[in-house]
Symmetry: D2
Subunit: 276 residues, 4 copies
């Protein structure tokens, strides 16, 4: 059983929590804890070797010994539901579909929504519903309305933007606060905006990277979950950098999803605590 706690810090928190576990005869197999001293915040991920018959009661018992407004989640939805939004690039989506098909994603893909149709076939091959919502011939608001409606029908735990090249409105984002995960080409906060690979190429960078982050309302500025880089050199054209970037994007999004679906990521103050 996994227990996740986020609350105001105070002396004796670990003691009270682990005493409660001991009282229930749950042995603590793994305990990750972090205190943000400056902000007086406490984060804990607890893995114990039993399962509560009644998680609501355990949750209440935890809240009773924690400071007010504590956030407690007990083994929340072992099989999380996700919706994936895509445009034309296949690399992140295919990786998700493969893991979904073989049961190693840690979540199940309810459907894929694309603003282009090119990725419909690969979804069909894996028996995953694909919805094509074009932005052509209708307003951005109308298209997003259709997307919102489809996403809400799936009632997902998380929405994954797997190279979705349209900017979603604050209204959409606010429906899924810190539950939308995006993969961003190049480094955040470097080269914010359009054509980052072109910018990187012209600057002659020796590394390119990718960042997986939660979506907030500031473009590409939400809390960072994971980052990785790969080395490049002068022999890379801008197109080669894009190709190399796709490998690192696929890898870093996979890593971020695993962390999130495994309840290892806490969010506060536009940053994350990742208890590995």
């Amino acid at each position: 059983m996994i227990i996740v706690i986020q609350c105001r810090d105070q002396v004796g928190l670990v003691a009270s929590i682990s005493a409660l576990m001991a009282r229930h005869h749950y042995n603590i197999v793994s305990l990750g804890e972090h205190v943000d001293v400056a902000e007086n915040l406490f984060f804990m991920r607890l893995e114990v070797d039993g399962n509560a018959a009644d998680t609501q009661t355990l949750e209440q018992e935890l809240c009773d010994i924690l400071p007010p407004q504590a956030l407690v989640k007990i083994n929340p939805k072992p099989d999380k539901k996700i919706v994936v939004l895509v445009t034309k690039e296949y690399h992140c989506l295919a990786d998700i579909l493969v893991r979904n098909y073989f049961g190693t994603l840690g979540a199940s893909v309810q459907c894929v929504i694309g603003n282009h149709a090119v990725l419909a076939d690969v979804c069909r091959r894996f028996d995953v519903p694909f919805h094509h919502i074009s932005y052509e011939g209708q307003t951005k608001q109308q298209a997003e309305g259709q997307i919102t409606s489809l996403v809400q029908q799936s009632n997902p735990d998380y929405v994954v933007l797997a190279k979705f090249m349209r900017i979603l409105s604050p209204a959409f984002n606010s429906l899924f606060p810190m539950r939308i995960i995006n993969i961003h080409h190049s480094f955040l906060p470097a080269f914010v905006g359009a054509s980052p690979y072109k910018q990187a190429f012209e600057r002659g960078v020796k590394l390119i990277g990718a960042t997986a982050h939660f979506v907030s309302n500031e473009l590409d500025e939400g809390p960072i979950i994971a980052q990785q880089i790969i080395p490049v050199n002068h022999g890379y054209t801008a197109a080669d950098m894009v190709t190399a970037g796709k490998e690192v994007e696929t890898s870093v999004l996979a890593k971020a999803l695993k962390l999130v679906f495994d309840d290892r990521v806490f969010v506060y103050n536009n940053k994350t605590v990742v208890i590995e």
Copy 2:
């Protein structure tokens, strides 16, 4: 104050330990814990925001609530003492001397012992005593006897083999169990023995690495503290690989020493737990 605990695992350990901290009004700033479930062993590194006036009493209080034979160390010697053994290569020693001089090593170098004299001058420049104990003209046993005597005079917490190219006897090793740190060229357990770079070159490896480990009586087989690699390619001669390897050796030894001197490394069953 840093508290380090290693003992048999049982339900409620974290609770009892942190309750004791709470009773003393020590707030837990950082808590790293690991349980080896198969071996039923418990490891904890605790950083609290106070200092015990009487560490012996606190240690006794901890032992009273822990299973028998628990190992407890409280902020053990913030300024650890080390002796460094070298042969001819400067890279690891110079890095240690620089950090020692600028006060960022986390330990103080009592003296350097070399079986060659070439590194005497760099020690002199940093006002660190250098002893030249040649293996020429005397038996290995005699030379090691002189080294042992010099090391014991310094009463060090750790002995660092910074590219010391002689094999120390089990007798020497047993004087400092899990307190001798070695840096080994190339990967452990790959290319064990002589000329690893030559072996690596002939195999056309694409990575070379270094391993910092505690010394046990099996050559190059003690518990691993840290490992790193760097990429190489066909353009590297065996000599280039040695040069590149020195960079990674310097870096990985520095990292391992920092972890050990910061009380983050536990040893059991010929392996380590490193709580970062």
Copy 3:
């Protein structure tokens, strides 16, 4: 057009080769060259901005100016054909199938042969023929005979062992010399043989890796094409190490295949030259 040359080294080789290119008005876009001085061997990969109408004539012209026994390949089969051998693990195969489907593999998968049937369905989903050749109920020799026959029918440029857990005989290997590519868990030459992850776990390694190599007749000892590592720590069980290892295996095999299919890998003396 890509031109690949491997021959005895002598003064003036680059001059003669590039003079020939100039005479044909081929501008050299990229030139990678390596000389193994000790072995007196010369390797060159040339990318020029034109295509020879008659590659056989150009090849002859090159051989005329090179030392005897030179190996020359001109843009050899831009669309290479491969056969993939698998057992039960999906990660490397799925990555290959996805790239094959989207046309970014640099080769086309003729068929997949498995000694278990579990990966038949994923091949079927991508319209790639899957053949199940069980080793149960027949001798190893009989099973390998069936595999050989199937592979030969596809007339592949390369055979990829994508986690094929059976050892192929020297007879099979000699049919495809330096044209069989294997991905090996853990490091070569470390932990050779069975249960490398168990060995790595028990040693408490801090890195695990994977090696893609050509298959020779010494088990896991053929020329290395690419290697990568990922950091692990004491929190990884042996099973976690296997999971982490799969990510690095997938990544390093993909990289090795790209290098081979792009004609960047030369083999000699049981090692490779990789001109990137």
Copy 4:
């Protein structure tokens, strides 16, 4: 002998150059070449196994066969001279002094100039002249005048800013065009300006890096020579990030200096070609 060529590209350049080498009976041991197709520029680094008795004649012979305005350097100053500018941080300077002392820097340090005096002692220990030029009590222009005068007396090939925390004027920079090397904390072009580690901490980045670059007149925007990163996590305070950053700064500056002093770095259009 190392020969470095940068010129307009045209068909047959490699042929003419290597024919000239063959005529002189210089065997080409290593040849690195790059063509920027879009800009029609040609770069070559040639290592041959002989030394020209008369480099000026060879240089003229090369210019005769190259397009107009070609830049040719023949084994330029095997022992380059450098001046190092510092402020208070020791990590980069100490690394340079150690390599300088042991003869592995590829250049010789003529003197160190600091706008604070704290690093005088470590220079004295290595018998390297240290000049303290304070910016206190005089105008920035006056201080820079003194620095300029001292640097010019040493007639250095390169000026290394090893954590020099003052901004040099365009006038100073123009005296040493593409011959001033700086190490910049954090990523370029991310977090440009003050307190990058604070910015990185507040953003919760998972990687921090360092960039070594030539100095141009736009702050932190000159051609990039080398970049590296290290992973960090939520457990790092801003101070920990600074400490970790120093390790990567030291390492990346060392790598960049080695590349530059080994004549592997070409500059054009505010970017570099690094032929490794």
